[in-house]
Structure formats: structure tokens, C-alpha cells
């Protein structure tokens, strides 16, 4: 763990020597990022991996960044979500497996497609999502669509809708509250 972390910093130093500004910012904020992702994941090993993965993605940044420290945190937060969802899918597949068979061969699972029951569950879930999206308040729906579907930045959204950044944030919070209430109750 410690070794991998040193390795990451050494690589980042090399990159930063090659005049990559973002890599330099990564090095300067490495410990802070690690602390943050320990708080986020509550697991030191997971946090180490996330921070390393953030480093591996530095070269994907395009154009100058207004808020590089925020950018680094956000890449990591997305990675945490990706991993958690992957874990959820794996658990669902495992459950499928144990639901449909009584034997299990080590850690090897065969994906035999979802059972009719979970198909119904998935369909109901999709319907709830569709209903929740369709009943979003208009402003919240717009911001959610512009940001999540069309990938617009907060400043682009604020500019297009003619509202402040704080206003964009409020619409987003409204959208999330509505979705949480309607989908998960």
C-alpha cells in the first residue's frame, strides 16, 4: 500500500517535470485527496486505489481547468460510484446464481440471465424512475438534463438559464430530493 503510494507520487513527479500542471497539483494535494477518500470510502485500501486511479486519469483532462483541486476530487468521487455500482451488480448476479441453483463452485459464477422475478423487479424500478423523472419540477428537470444527460458544466447551465450558480445548485438539490422521495421513498 505504502509502496504503491510512493510509486504514484514518483510517477506524478516525472509527469510534473514534463510540465503537466495538473500532475503538480495532484502531487501537492496527494495527502489531502487520500484523507478525503478515506472519509468517503471508510477504507484505507480502497482510498489508496481510488487516488491511484485518479492519477492514471490525469492525462484525460482536456483544456485548462478552472478548479483543478475540485476536478481531482470529482474524478475520484465518480470512480467510487462506479466501483460501488459494479459491486452491486456483482452481488445481484451472485444472488441470481444462489436463487437458481443450490451449488456454488468457488468464486466462479455463470451469468444465466435474470430470473423472471428480478425482471419484474427491474421493470418496476424502471417505471418508478420514468415516473419520477416525468414529474420533476420544470427547473429541476432542466438542470438535471443539462448536467447529467448533456454533460454541461455548471457555468454553461447558469449562462443558458440566466440564473446564478447557487440557483443551479438549488435546482439540482430539488431534483435529487424529488428523485429520492419518488424512487426510494
Amino acid at each position: 500500500m505504502v509502496a504503491s503510494r510512493r510509486h504514484t507520487i514518483a510517477m506524478a513527479r516525472q509527469l510534473s517535470d514534463a510540465s503537466s500542471g495538473l500532475a503538480a497539483i495532484f502531487v501537492a494535494n496527494h495527502d489531502r485527496l487520500l484523507r478525503f477518500f478515506i472519509s468517503r470510502t471508510r477504507d484505507v485500501a480502497d482510498a489508496e486505489e481510488i487516488v491511484q486511479e485518479v492519477f492514471l486519469r490525469l492525462d484525460r483532462a482536456t483544456g485548462p481547468l478552472g478548479d483543478p483541486v475540485g476536478y481531482l476530487h470529482r474524478i475520484g468521487l465518480n470512480l467510487v460510484v462506479d466501483r460501488a455500482r459494479e459491486r452491486e451488480r456483482r452481488i445481484a448476479r451472485d444472488k441470481e446464481w444462489t436463487d437458481s441453483t443450490t451449488t456454488r463452485q468457488g468464486d466462479d459464477y455463470v451469468d444465466e440471465g435474470p430470473s423472471p422475478f428480478s425482471q419484474v423487479e427491474a421493470k418496476q424500478r424502471a417505471e418508478r424512475i420514468a415516473r419520477a423523472l416525468a414529474s420533476l419540477p420544470p427547473g429541476a428537470a432542466r438542470v438535471f438534463r443539462m448536467h447529467r444527460i448533456e454533460g454541461m458544466s455548471h457555468s454553461e447551465i447558469a449562462g443558458q438559464l440566466g440564473i446564478s450558480r447557487k440557483g443551479v445548485e438549488k435546482h439540482m438539490a430539488t431534483a435529487l430530493r424529488h428523485l429520492a422521495k419518488e424512487i426510494d421513498q
Partner: protein, 315 residues
């Protein structure tokens, strides 16, 4: 833990996630909040996962159209329409108070959608409609039309007993025996009249009367809009593979281009005031965008989900 505490935590988690998504974040304060109680981190994880799940669903299936924007329509909202439509109101008189028409009954609606090519649909005994590429509308047997998105050219014989009514989001377009186009894109309506007369109403406002050679463009959310001019013989020129513009707002051009490209074309707010005159040939999508960048001082930034037109000098 009581239910109330739980909902407080959820609200905080949502506020943090909204800030992470589109706001400014004090990362150390966020870490402190996450550390303060195990329930905080769990609540945040739950909302982040839900958000990702819904976003995935919407990317795959599209956002449901916000057809039901005008839930109740209180007086205060009507006043907003007056204010928001200040420009429009100076051009034509508006009267609020006509009961809102209920939308077409959805029982007997048949939906028509195009992808890469146009098609013509007969409207029984009333005429026909030409649907452009990447467009969708629904027809009922009793002359109700629901415009979902894209562009349609209507060629209708007026029949007192069978008036055609086109519902486009919060707008209603009624023909009075005519040829005209209706275009709906990203919460905006564009109407251009080639011949005859058309009425356009927003929610329960009284209609604007458009004659041949007139256009209307309006925003569904606020109802604000403006009336413009067009050469009647260029209305619906996309049917002949051309887009003809004369001092046309770039936003309207982008709405048209979006029908011939695989990604929506959008205009950076800073250059939304630009206007275009000229004829574009509809061949294939990427070509069209290049035709724009050759005419106006703009660049096309091609992203994963869209093509954004930006000012050339700025970046």
C-alpha cells in the same frame, strides 16, 4: 435514530451531492461531515448511487418530455407570462382567462417517428403532413396532433367541422386552412406560415394570429416569444434538401441542424445573438456544421453528447 434525524441527514447528503455536481465544494468540510457519523457516509453513498442510476436510465431512454409543465396555472404565473412575454405583448395583445383546453385524448393517438429519412402521412380528409428526419408526432382520428420533437410541414384544407389542432408542449397551434411548418426542439416552438392563417396559443392565453410570411418562436417554459418574417416560398425548404435562412437566429439554425446530426447541436449563450443568412445543403450531418463554421465566426466543439457552437475568438 428518529425518522426526523434521518431525513435531516438525507437532506444534508443531497445538498453535498448537489454541490459536488454543479456547485462549489469545501472539500475539507465535506470530509468532516462524512466523518461525523457513519450514517452520513451511508446517506451520501445512497444518493450518489441513485443519481448515477437515474442518469444512466435517462441517457439510455431519454428524459421524458415535460408535457405537463402547466400543472395548475395560478394568477401569479399568468402575470409572469405577461412579464416574461413583455416583448411579445408589445407586438400582439394577449388575454388570459380562457379555460385551458385539455390535451388530445391519448387513447386513439398513433405515433409516427422518423430517423434518417422524411415521410409523408395522410391526415384523413384534411390533407397531409411531411415529417422531417429525426422527428416525432402523434395523430388522432379526430384531428388532434401532438408534436413531440423535430419538424413537420402541414398542408391542410380547412374544414369548419374538423379543425386541426397541434399540441406542442405548452403551445397550441390551430390551422385555418393553410401550409405551415411546426418545429419543436429543446423546449422551444417555431412556426412558419407559407400560406393562409395559423393561430398559436400558449397555455390558456388567447391566440396570436399569424399570416403567410410570418413566423413565431416561443419558449414553452415561460410562453415568451416573438413574431418574425419569412419569405413564404422558403417555408419547409428542408423538404427539398435545403435550409434557407435570412437573418435567422443561430439558436433556430442549431435546432434545425440537430435533425441531421447524430448529436444535438447547441449554441453557447455568448453567441446566441448571432444571426445567419444563406442556404445550407442538407447532405450529411457533420458537413452541415462545417457549413456554419465557414459562414460565421464560430467553432464547433464536438462532445460525446452534443455539438456545441462556440465563439471563435474566445477560446
Amino acid at each position: 435514530m428518529t425518522g426526523e434525524q434521518q431525513s435531516d441527514i438525507e437532506r444534508d447528503a443531497i445538498d453535498w451531492h448537489a454541490r459536488v455536481s454543479v456547485g462549489e465544494v469545501d472539500w475539507d468540510a465535506f470530509a468532516q461531515w462524512l466523518d461525523a457519523a457513519p450514517a452520513h457516509q451511508l446517506a451520501y453513498e445512497r444518493i450518489a448511487l441513485l443519481d448515477a442510476e437515474v442518469a444512466d436510465w435517462a441517457k439510455k431512454n431519454g428524459m421524458p418530455e415535460l408535457e405537463e409543465v402547466p400543472a395548475p396555472f395560478p394568477f401569479s404565473a399568468s402575470r409572469r407570462w405577461w412579464l416574461g412575454g413583455a416583448v411579445a405583448a408589445s407586438v400582439f395583445a394577449l388575454v388570459v382567462g380562457i379555460p385551458r383546453l385539455t390535451g388530445p385524448s391519448h387513447d386513439d393517438l398513433v405515433t409516427y417517428a422518423t430517423t434518417g429519412e422524411q415521410r409523408t402521412i395522410d391526415i384523413a380528409r384534411s390533407g397531409k403532413v411531411r415529417l422531417d428526419e429525426r422527428s416525432q408526432l402523434a395523430l388522432s382520428t379526430d384531428g388532434q396532433v401532438r408534436m413531440d420533437h423535430g419538424a413537420a410541414y402541414f398542408d391542410l384544407r380547412h374544414d369548419e367541422n374538423r379543425p386541426i389542432e397541434i399540441q406542442s408542449g405548452t403551445f397550441t397551434v390551430r390551422d385555418i386552412g393553410t401550409r405551415f411548418t411546426v418545429t419543436r426542439n429543446r423546449g422551444r416552438l417555431f412556426v412558419a406560415v407559407e400560406q393562409g392563417f395559423v393561430d398559436v396559443a400558449w397555455q390558456d392565453s388567447s391566440p396570436i394570429h399569424l399570416a403567410a410570411g410570418q413566423t413565431f418562436q416561443g419558449e414553452e417554459r415561460t410562453g415568451s416569444g416573438e413574431v418574425g418574417k419569412v419569405a413564404p416560398d422558403t417555408v419547409g425548404s428542408w423538404r427539398d434538401g435545403q435550409l434557407v435562412y435570412d437573418d435567422t437566429p443561430l439558436t433556430q439554425v442549431a435546432a434545425d441542424l440537430s435533425r441531421y446530426t447524430d448529436k444535438p447541436v447547441e449554441v453557447e449563450p455568448a453567441i446566441a445573438h448571432l444571426r445567419l443568412s444563406g442556404i445550407l445543403l442538407i447532405r450529411n450531418g457533420p458537413d452541415l456544421v462545417d457549413q456554419i463554421t465557414a459562414i460565421l465566426p464560430v467553432d464547433a466543439r464536438r462532445g460525446n453528447d452534443r455539438i456545441l457552437l462556440v465563439g471563435r475568438a474566445r477560446r
